[in-house]
Amino acid sequence: MNTAILVSLWLRRDRIMLPLWVYGLTALAASTAYGFKSLYTTPGSIHSFAAGVAGNAATLAMYGPIFDQNTLGGLVAWRSVTIAGALVAVMSILLVTRHTRAEEEAGRLELIGAGVVGRRAPLTAGLLVAVIANVTVAVLATAVLAAVGLPFAGSVAFGLAWLASGLAFTAVAAVAAQLTESARTANGIAVAVLGAAYLLRAVGDAGSAHWLTWLSPIGWASQVRPYAGDRWWVLLVPAAFTALLAVAAYTLTGRRDLGAGLVPPRPGPARAAPGLRSPLALAWRLQRGTLCGWGAGFVVYGAAIGGIADGISTLVKGSSSTEKVVIEMGGGHNIVDAFLALGMGILGVLAASYVVAAALRLRGEETGQRLEPLLAARAGRIRWAAGHLVIAASGAAALLAAGGLAAGLAHGLRTHDVAGQVPRLTGGALVQAPAVWVLAGIAAALFGLLPRFTGAAWGAVGLFLLLGQLGPVLNLSQWVMDVSPFTHVPKVPGGAVSAAPLIWLAVTAAALAAMGLAAFRRRDLSL
């Protein structure tokens, strides 16, 4: 009963974020299936694509093997179960942490805990919200896949495979939330487990030690083999894993104090480092940990793109239409360059997510009441806000550089051209920076002008992402496409670079930020 009240409270708090995740993931499943369906129209083209993948260690590592090389379903499952399943896991982790440890850290659970709610109710409520989200995603994914025309049983298996990934990491996050006092750390632990699981599966699928895949929850999901035998019994493994971890989370909850973690926090320094003396230094101190986490992700992703690129021509040999689409979207004349350019575009979207998360710290600090003492201590509004924006903008540039560098190294090593590819791909990633900065500008403008809607900056990221993905498919008219800053980014490597659009993007970003800062200077703080 009390749990039900909490669940409805959490669902109301998530009324924007949750639908975004659910629709986003459903759209991903649908667009992948639809895309493959329109690209590979004959069994021959499907088979030759699949045969190419099977022989490429890098794609095996990234997506896993194709279990049915002759059907469309086989391709769709290969492309979506592992990598998009990891996204389902990310959604689950964020949801659980947000409604358990984050609430507790903010002290709000104390308020509830002092009421009539049982001590396990908050954990149950957090888990239930994640279960609701996961089941909705699984049902919708099944429905859209079946609607595209894939076999129904396989679509159910696909939905259940996603559900298995999501629930496994729901449970992982529930345990992580018991370990530490900090929601950020709890998220970090759970995401690290996800990363390790993905890596285990990657090594297992790409190498000869296939049993490694069986140590990974992501591996279990892929081994369900939707559209390729639908091995239902495999689902028992993640089910047992999930149940076990859920029991562990409940046991741990029962053993600890409210607000405390099982791992006692390490003490900090008694004096501040000499450099901690400005709003910028504080912003760096607050954001550096997160930036390092993103950095690791960018390096891995960059290396993956760089590692795959060289083999892409064998992959698409069977399908001239794929080649056409890749070249169309990636620009240039050469399929490898076009693929790399597409990869750089994805780095850009990822950097946009980082930059928005980092810029939203502004609002978090303000509403978290941590801004008040700073401003009263002469931080100065503009200096303070600019500090966070500088970290966000330069952090995004650094991430792009790291991703591009990793891609250049990986691609260079495969093509024996490290000296040539490293600067080429680092540059290719860095041209995304001005477009990414526009999103920081949007976040800053919202923060100054419409502070209560600062979170809408995420909407801009989603919109630009959708425009980039759907624009070419739906043949949207150019002026609609022009709304997205990413439309104006040169497609490199391969395409021509002209400075004008980059300068315009940077100027737009600066103007938006300046507008936001000017408005922030004139408004009341939300206290």
């Binding site: 926090p265 101190r285 008040e372 700073l374």
Partner: protein, 296 residues
């Protein structure tokens, strides 16, 4: 430059809620000024306007001779602030926060910092999320008291402190006064204001209801008297200004408006006084009276 704070007719609306409704407040240089009012009466809002965090809707406000909104940053060099609700960064230690706030303000006194940590029994190595409310408040207090600011603005700084620490706090404020600093102390704890403040402004519903020294304000209220008499007294009830009369044989308790004290004493001595205690009103009673006045 006589007054550190000069606020007149201050109005502030939050949407349809009127938080301040023509508030006046004057704080003189070198005094400890009590800013007294029940929860939600507008103390924090006033202080935030003085700090340039909120913008006044109407009225005038001067802080240290400057405009608190337009000259915020330069004025903040000369003051230190302890917010009512202290929230720290979860992964910064208390010591780091103290240093950071001190440095932003232009430096802090290392010896005083160490001394204050000691007196408040604060462990500077703990991380923000590990501190209790009281300890978070201590972090902000140490940061403010260790600065060389000429004005201290303290918004209900003791609401999380235990009685022992409250005593430490009071002695610290006493030292600040002796050092010639000005203190604006908001509170709804009356004994604290009574113990520390030279002058008091009492507010209610965003409006100042009284201002002056404690002595000034006492004339507004009543004195409580209890006496043991030689004989049963007569005619007390008929005297002007007498309230809450309670006669039990020769024991008498009553409250009297301070300006009618004379007549009551005369009547008591007629009956012959064995013992007599009289008590000046506490601020609690002062308060109650203003509530009553408002309720009527």
């Amino acid at each position: 430059m006589e007054n550190v704070v000069e606020v007149a007719g201050l109005v502030k609306d939050f949407g349809r809620t009127r938080a301040l409704d023509g508030l006046d407040l004057t704080v003189r240089t070198g005094e400890v000024h009590g800013f007294l009012g029940p929860n939600g009466s507008g103390k924090s809002t006033t202080i935030r306007i003085l700090l340039g965090l909120l913008r006044a809707g109407a009225g005038t406000s001067r802080l240290l001779g400057g405009d608190p909104w337009r000259q915020a940053t330069e004025l903040h060099r000369r003051l230190a602030y302890v917010p009512g609700e202290v929230t720290l960064w979860p992964n910064l230690s208390g010591g780091e926060v103290i240093d950071l706030l001190g440095r932003l303000r232009g430096g802090l006194n290392g010896k005083r910092r160490a001394d204050l940590l000691d007196r408040f029994e604060l462990d500077p190595k703990k991380k923000g999320r590990a501190y209790s409310k009281g300890n978070r408040q201590k972090v902000a207090l140490v940061a403010a008291l260790a600065s060389d600011a000429e004005l201290l603005i303290l918004d209900e700084p003791t609401s999380g402190l235990d009685p022992l620490m409250e005593e430490v706090f009071q002695s610290c404020v006493e030292e600040e006064r002796k050092a010639g600093r000005t203190v604006l102390l908001s509170s709804h704890i009356l004994s604290e204001v009574e113990a520390l403040c030279d002058r008091v402004t009492i507010i209610r519903k965003g409006r100042s209801v009284e201002t002056g020294t404690l002595a000034d304000l006492r004339h507004l209220t009543r004195t409580s008297i209890s006496a043991e008499l030689a004989a049963e007294p007569g005619g007390l009830a008929a005297l002007p200004g007498v309230h809450g009369l309670d006669v039990q044989g020769t024991r008498v308790r009553l409250e009297v408006d301070t300006d009618h004290l004379d007549g009551v004493l005369r009547a008591l001595s007629v009956a012959g006084v064995r013992t007599l205690t009289s008590r000046p009103p506490t601020l609690e009673e002062l308060f109650l009276r203003h509530y009553e006045a408002d309720a009527r």
